[in-house]
């Protein structure tokens, strides 16, 4: 067994070289894209010229974040079957996007989620609300990715404790990584706009799929393509026996003699499951991707591609997770990182060591996978920054402040400036948020997206009676309830693993608010709509025709 913390300097410098090559290629793409970016449609929607498979790859690139690649592989490696639950929720979620959202959104909107809501409602309050929730969701997600990048760098480059790298301590290296990642993402978005960002996503998705595929083939061939013996070995090496292959090691734990806690644990599992499935179709950076294609039919095609790519990827994480448990072993993984985030890179090193020629092979393969992981983080943060700056410029600046009278050039200028500001804010917050748990932030982003955005989108597309008041109630209601419940949950205070372990203001027993806050978002939307007399049937008929046929679509 090799220790990744003591990984050779070869692998360290190779990781940096490979990563720099990726940065150089993507910057070249970005500069090329900036020459093609003239209009607002170019900046926000990449000129709506992407084909189905291109956008499908880009959606995959946006979606398969470091949380999926490193996080899920790590969860499976440590908790076995329960990590797989995440993959399933993340994939099934795409059916909501395919059946209920993608095509209708493409037909009825222009650049942002708020376009659909504001179609038949009062522009200013609805766009403000949509802009607020877009920014909240994106910032949570951004911080999660950037904190993840910081935590990874010290592990992947093998700096920890007192050891130094280029004269930097582990703490300083983390901060510099966050700043570097943040600066690069600002450049991609400000210079390249949607076109540049989309090509970065496509490049990254290719790299990630190839990297994961290579590892999967090596793991499976090690077990002569016998799934059962891989699982058996994983269970044996995990130190948890047969329970490793069954649900219950991490989620929905049964506490002997404590029926209440057992009940809460099971509710938490349900809550997580629901938030994962309903959150995807409310994520702003995913929604804006549907505008980058020419028609609703291409939007449908791109979701089909995305489902294929993402599905195959999650099946591969299954092999990676169980492979890491079997070949690296639970002990070696937790010794490196308690949360298991380094399971995939450690597996790469082990596989390289066995099949590509000893220590050098191990270092090379580790370096490749580490560079892929950084590329992954970089691409996802760029997508998020673009979605939130689009919302600030198009919703808030152009339609709320300028009341729809902004010149296109000014609007794009504001979008670039807000990308810079949002990027800077995310960098600053991430530096202060380094102690936060990454998975918690991602799950929170999903819960907020499902509680605040999804009810408003579904109601405005399918409910004739929905109106401004309903939209405001569901967005603000879902947003506030989900954030408040998290604040009083065991992830923030009152437990050893909480953000503030030494304080206790916890009273909400679940760590994921979804099971309460998502129904609340839908209920508030209904109450709000009923409380107001606004009922524009003619405008709804127009929206219905447009969302179905694309008549009058941008």
């Amino acid at each position: 067994m090799i220790d990744a913390a003591a990984s050779t300097s070869t692998s360290r410098s190779l990781t940096i070289i490979l990563f720099l090559i990726f940065v150089a290629i993507t910057l070249a793409i970005t500069i090329w894209a900036s020459r093609q970016t003239r209009t607002a449609t170019d900046f926000y929607a990449g000129g709506r010229q992407f084909s189905g498979w291109q956008n499908g790859m880009a959606i995959g690139g946006d979606y398969m974040s470091a949380a999926s690649f490193l996080g899920i592989a790590g969860l499976i490696a440590l908790y076995g079957y329960d990590g797989f639950l995440y993959s399933i929720g993340f994939l099934v979620a795409w059916l909501v996007a395919l059946l209920l959202v993608a095509e209708f959104l493409r037909n009825s909107g222009r650049y942002t989620m708020a376009d659909v809501l504001a179609f038949r409602m009062r522009q200013r309050p609805v766009r403000t609300a949509a802009s607020v929730s877009t920014i909240v969701v994106s910032i949570f997600y951004l911080i999660a990715q950037m904190v993840g990048a910081g935590a990874l760098v010290s592990l992947l480059l093998g700096i920890s404790g007192d050891s130094k790298f280029l004269g930097l301590t582990a703490g300083a290296a983390k901060v510099w990584t966050i700043i570097l990642v943040g600066a690069l993402m600002i450049v991609y978005v400000v210079v390249g706009g949607m076109k540049g960002t989309t090509y970065v996503q496509i490049t990254k998705a290719f790299m990630l799929m190839i990297g994961a595929f290579l590892m999967t083939v090596l793991v499976l061939s090690h077990y002569k393509f016998n799934l059962s013996s891989l699982l058996g070995d994983a269970a044996a090496q995990s130190g948890k026996g047969a329970a490793f292959l069954e649900p219950g090691l991490r989620y929905g734990k049964e506490v002997a003699g404590d029926a209440t806690q057992t009940f809460y644990n099971k509710m938490d599992l349900l809550s997580l499951g629901i938030a994962l499935v309903l959150g995807t179709a409310g994520l702003p950076h995913i929604l804006t991707r549907f505008y980058t294609v020419p028609t609703a039919r291409v939007a449908r095609k791109s979701v089909l591609w995305a489902i294929g790519i993402i599905g195959v990827f999650y099946l591969m994480t299954l092999a990676l997770g169980f492979g890491a448990a079997a070949l690296v072993g639970g002990k070696a993984i937790t010794a490196q990182d308690k949360a298991g985030n380094t399971a995939a890179p450690q597996l790469a090193q082990e596989l390289g060591h066995r099949y590509l020629g000893g220590d050098t092979g191990g270092s090379v393969f580790l370096a490749v996978i580490a560079a892929v992981a950084f590329a992954t983080i970089l691409a996802v943060v760029a997508g998020l920054t673009l979605a939130s700056s689009s919302s600030v410029a198009h919703d808030f600046y152009a339609n709320v402040i300028r009341r729809g009278n902004a010149a296109e050039r000014d609007e794009v200028k504001v979008a670039r400036i807000s990308a810079l500001v949002i990027g800077a804010v995310a960098i600053a917050l991430s530096i202060f948020a380094q102690s936060l748990n990454v998975a918690f932030l991602v799950a929170l982003a999903f819960a907020v997206a499902a509680s605040a955005n999804l009810p408003a989108i579904i109601y405005s597309l399918f409910w004739r009676r929905f109106n401004t008041s309903g939209a405001l109630w569901s967005i603000y209601g879902g947003l506030i309830v989900s954030v408040v419940l998290v604040f009083f949950s065991p992830v923030v205070s009152g437990t050893e693993t909480a953000m503030f372990p030494h304080h206790d203001w916890q009273w909400f027993p679940l760590s994921n608010p979804g099971i309460i806050s998502i129904p609340v978002g839908f209920l508030f939307g209904w109450i709000g709509a009923k409380l107001s007399k606004e009922d524009d049937t003619a405008k709804y008929a127009e929206l219905e025709v447009r969302s179905l046929t694309g008549f009058g679509a941008h």
């Binding site: 079957y81 399933i88 099934v92 209920l100 059962s228 069954e246 099971k266 599992l269 099946l315 046929t549």
Partner: protein, 78 residues
């Protein structure tokens, strides 16, 4: 369809929470019901996506084209 796949997914999550004995039952070698159920979720997602795209291309798209052509005809006249 949306309701059907959501209930199917919910059944899976509920079984994972409450039917541990059933989910842990071994089928072939080390492959248990839970794993097969999880993989079936992948299969059903792929199938529903494929079926929907076929249905939409055959039934919805021609209808949408027809309405759109009519609307564009009217818009051109006025």
């Amino acid at each position: 369809m949306t309701v059907a796949f959501f209930l199917w997914y919910l059944l899976y999550v509920l079984l994972s929470a409450y039917a541990r004995g059933f989910m842990g039952a071994k089928v072939v070698g080390n492959i248990n019901v839970a794993l097969i159920f999880g993989l079936l979720q992948f299969v059903s997602t792929f199938l529903i996506a494929w079926y929907y795209s076929r249905y939409a291309a055959q039934k919805i798209d021609p209808l949408a084209d027809e309405i759109r052509a009519r609307l564009e005809g009217e818009a051109a006249k006025s």
